[in-house]
């Protein structure tokens, strides 16, 4: 920057000197030579700096600056020739020839240079650019015509002078047009340099025009002298341009300033101003001016039409884009509305800002109520705020989503399981704008999972029990077989008396019966489980059955006494005689088995509601409370390590319960460990059963 100001001062001093000399002493050849020299020096300076910049530039820039430098060189040559002529002939050359011949040659080079300058992209179509150029040119032509230039030339000294002047003016107009156009398309970074170049060239063109006008009208003098050295000021500015420090272009996303679009209209403004001046001075309008004004009007009309059509195109385009956007938004909305999941956007303060109908139905809350309310009544407050806080305040741009199952509450207070996810939606600066959340009701899924887990546990337990049962049954069967196999082996192999043989055969018979009972139990149970057992229902006297069962039981033991308390006149029950006998036999043999020290076993019957109730009470080992619940289950047998041997399959009570329940009765047990057990079961009376059947 300092370099620029030093150069500017260096240029200003000789320029000021030349100006002063010209203003003070007119009409002198010395002054003329001084002025020529000043012009030559500034043109030389422009040649030097622009040439240096051209040498450093590449591509279009090199061509542009090179041509501008060349134009400076042409000007130097012309000025030097003029000064030499003035000095040798001691006469000032004809003004038009001297000042414009050479400058007119220099200016086309400058124009070509300007056309090579790098241009910025502007929002302008080709026809608009053409219109703009035409508008500037016509404005200049109008102004020139209004100033009566053609007529002035008609009064020139010679036809040659007139043509040269006219040609010179035409070049000036073209230059000004190109300058305006270049300014309109200037790049931001290049603009200071460009303004200097354009300013310099404009000064040359304007001063040239003015000098031509003044020369043609013959009004020579002080002002003319200054105007005559216009190219000196112009080239001085051009020479300074390459020294202005270069700024890199700001980047691709330049904003779109409005002022370059206004440049062509400056010309129109100048036309308007000129027209006002003409009318004030009552000057007549020439044919050229009228033609130019008419052309300008036509161009303005065209420009206006183009603007309108462009505006309409833009409007249509934006409408199309808007329609597409709306269509897309509608589609997205319908996707969200009909999504099988609840969708909501939730503010950082846990307020629901949007929600879809699915979420509303999931939470039992109308959409109008849901939107705007906080999430706290539905999701645990501390949990949600903990989740929201877990997202970094400023994301690193990677996708982040929280996902988990939690218990949620509906508007009516009922609880349900929800699988939900939250994703923060961030602003451009990374801060969280709101959260996008989706909700899925997973209650049914969880329940079925829990149910299948429970089923699996049940199956595993059953499997374990079954394998224990197989192991136990095989042991029992083998124990029973010991006697059968052993005693029969003895009878076969050993000599013995007949009485002894009979005793052993009795043992074999007892063991076979034991085996047979166990097999019957297993088959019965299997049939009961499969639901294949059919009851043969008849009217029975339960007291008779009890008496028979006790009679049979008492044969098998000598240690126990039986106390029978039967309610007389008990109504008949509806039941299967064999199966009820099996129940009684089972309960009695259990009472015997589990009271190994002997004692009293009490059996009673009584009426209980619509049923006959039978109780079997022993004073044996009793059953621990923790086992009672499993007592009637499959394969369960209570085994006390410290009690005596109990033989059986463990199916007895399971079969008993099944039979009782098939009759429509119930079986219960009360027991105290060490004191004994009391089993009770009921069988519906025949009258009750009939009533139930009828009502069913």
């Amino acid at each position: 920057m300092r370099r620029f100001w030093i150069a500017a001062a260096g240029v200003a001093i000789p320029t000021a000197f030349v100006t002063t000399v010209s203003a003070l002493n007119s009409e002198s050849t010395r002054v003329d030579v001084t002025r020529d020299a000043g012009q030559a020096i500034s043109a030389l300076a422009a040649f030097a700096t622009c040439g240096w910049l051209a040498w450093r530039s590449t591509g279009r820039g090199r061509w542009a600056w090179g041509l501008i430098a060349l134009s400076g060189l042409v000007a130097v040559v012309v000025e030097l020739a003029e000064a030499t002529y003035t000095l040798s002939t001691k006469t000032v050359p004809s003004l038009l020839v001297a000042s414009d011949y050479g400058i007119a040659g220099a200016l086309p080079l400058a124009i070509a240079g300007l056309l090579f300058l790098p241009r910025a992209r502007r929002f302008a179509t080709g026809r608009r650019t053409a219109l703009d150029v035409a508008m500037i040119a016509l404005s200049l032509i109008y102004i020139g015509s209004a100033l009566s230039l053609p007529e002035l030339f008609a009064r020139s000294a010679s036809p040659a002078d007139a043509w040269i002047g006219l040609g010179s003016l035409a070049v000036d107009f073209v230059l000004l047009t190109v300058v305006s156009w270049t300014l309109r398309h200037s790049q931001d970074g290049l603009r200071p340099r460009l303004l200097l170049v354009l300013g310099g060239l404009s000064v040359i063109a304007v001063a040239d025009c003015a000098a031509v006008v003044i020369a043609a009208t013959g009004q020579l003098g002080g002002v003319h002298e200054i105007l005559g050295s216009g190219s000196m000021y112009g080239f001085a500015l051009v020479a300074l341009a390459p020294l202005w420090p270069q700024r890199e272009p700001a980047g691709a996303d330049e904003d779109m300033p409005l002022w370059p679009d206004l440049i062509p209209y400056i010309g129109v403004g100048a036309v308007a101003l000129t027209a006002i001046v003409i009318s004030i001075r009552h000057q007549p309008m020439t044919g050229y001016a009228a033609a130019a004004a008419g052309g300008l009007g036509a161009i303005l009309l065209g420009s206006h039409l183009i603007s309108r059509s462009e505006a309409r195109d833009l409007l249509l385009q934006s409408k199309r884009v808007q329609a597409r956007l709306q269509e897309r938004e509608a589609m997205l909305n319908s996707v969200v509305d009909h999504a099988p999941q609840g969708v909501a956007s939730i503010s950082v303060e846990r307020r629901i800002t949007t929600a879809n109908p699915r979420l509303a139905s999931m939470l039992y809350a109308p959409l109008q109520v849901l939107i705007g309310s906080v999430t706290d009544p539905f999701l645990p407050e501390d949990y949600v705020s903990r989740v929201f806080r877990s997202f970094a305040a400023n994301g690193d741009g990677t996708a982040e989503t929280y996902e988990s199952d939690c218990q949620a509450r509906r508007a009516d207070g009922s609880q349900f399981w929800v699988h939900w996810s939250a994703t923060p939606i961030r602003r451009t600066d990374g801060s969280i704008d709101y959260f996008m959340a989706t909700f899925e009701d997973v209650t049914a899924k969880r329940e079925s999972e829990e149910l299948s887990a429970a089923n699996l546990a049940q199956l595993e337990k059953l499997n374990r029990l079954k394998s224990e049962f197989v192991s136990m049954v095989s042991h029992e069967f083998r124990t029973a077989l010991v006697g059968i196999q052993g005693f029969s082996e003895l009878i076969r192999d050993q000599e013995m008396e007949k009485s002894e043989m009979k005793t052993l055969a009795g043992e074999i018979f007892d063991d076979s019966q034991r085996l047979s009972r166990m097999i019957t139990d297993m088959l019965d149970f299997d049939r009961l489980e499969a639901g294949k057992l059919k009851l043969d229902l008849r009217q029975l006297d339960i007291n008779d059955l009890v008496r028979e069962a006790v009679e049979h039981a008492s044969v098998s033991t000598r240690q126990h006494t039986f106390e029978v308390e039967l309610q007389p006149g008990l109504p008949q029950v509806l039941g299967d005689q064999d199966r009820l006998t099996q129940v009684l036999t089972n309960l009695l043999s259990n009472a015997i088995k589990y009271s190994p020290r002997g004692g009293e076993i009490r059996i009673c019957t009584r009426l209980n509601g619509g049923c006959a109730e039978v109780c079997v009470i022993d004073h044996g080992n009793g059953i621990p409370p923790e086992f009672i619940s499993r007592l009637f289950g499959r394969y369960e047998r209570y085994e006390d390590k410290h009690a005596g041997k109990i033989i059986g399959t463990g199916l007895g009570l399971a079969i008993t319960r099944q039979i009782v329940e098939m009759h429509g009765g119930r079986i219960t047990v009360d027991s105290v460990v060490g004191k004994g057990s009391e089993f009770r079961f009921t069988v519906p009376l025949a009258t009750t059963a009939a009533a139930i059947t009828r009502s069913a």
Binding site: S471, S474, H475, E476, F477, R478, T479, L481, V482, G483, I484, Q485, G486, F487, E489, L490, D493, Q494, E507, D510, D511, D640, K641, H642, A643, G644, K645, I647
Partner: protein, 121 residues
């Protein structure tokens, strides 16, 4: 006199074994539960025990371990008898140092062979 202890909680089995062994000329004592079996087994009156593995109070494996501890110098012979053929029981008995292993229902001829073999050794 060769004395054998039959420990079995099933009276029929115990009776059978006693009857058979007595007929073969052995003197036989019977124990119907684990407690009694332990008492009689440690008395020193028996050279051999026929042990049912499943018994109330103490089971066969426990009795075997106890007997092995008490008779370090003059080990008593033990034949295990069980209807349970599972590997765990088999392993537990083998670890306890069982002399012979027979399954129920027992082949009396095989039992006699085993008893004779162990009594001579």
């Amino acid at each position: 006199m060769k004395r054998i202890l039959v420990a079995d909680d099933d009276p029929a089995s115990a009776e059978l074994l006693a009857y058979f062994l007595e007929s073969k000329g052995f003197e036989v004592g019977t124990a119907l539960d684990g407690n009694r079996a332990l008492e009689m087994g440690t008395s020193g009156n028996f050279q051999l025990v026929i042990l049912d593995v499943h018994m109330p109070m103490y089971d066969g494996v426990e009795i075997l371990q106890f007997l092995r501890k008490r008779h370090m110098l003059h080990p008593i012979k033990v034949i295990a008898l069980t209807g349970d053929l599972s590997q765990e029981v088999h392993d537990a008995l083998a670890d306890g140092g069982i002399d012979s292993f027979l399954t129920k229902p027992v082949d009396l001829g095989l039992l006699h062979d085993e008893v004779s073999r162990l009594m001579v050794a």
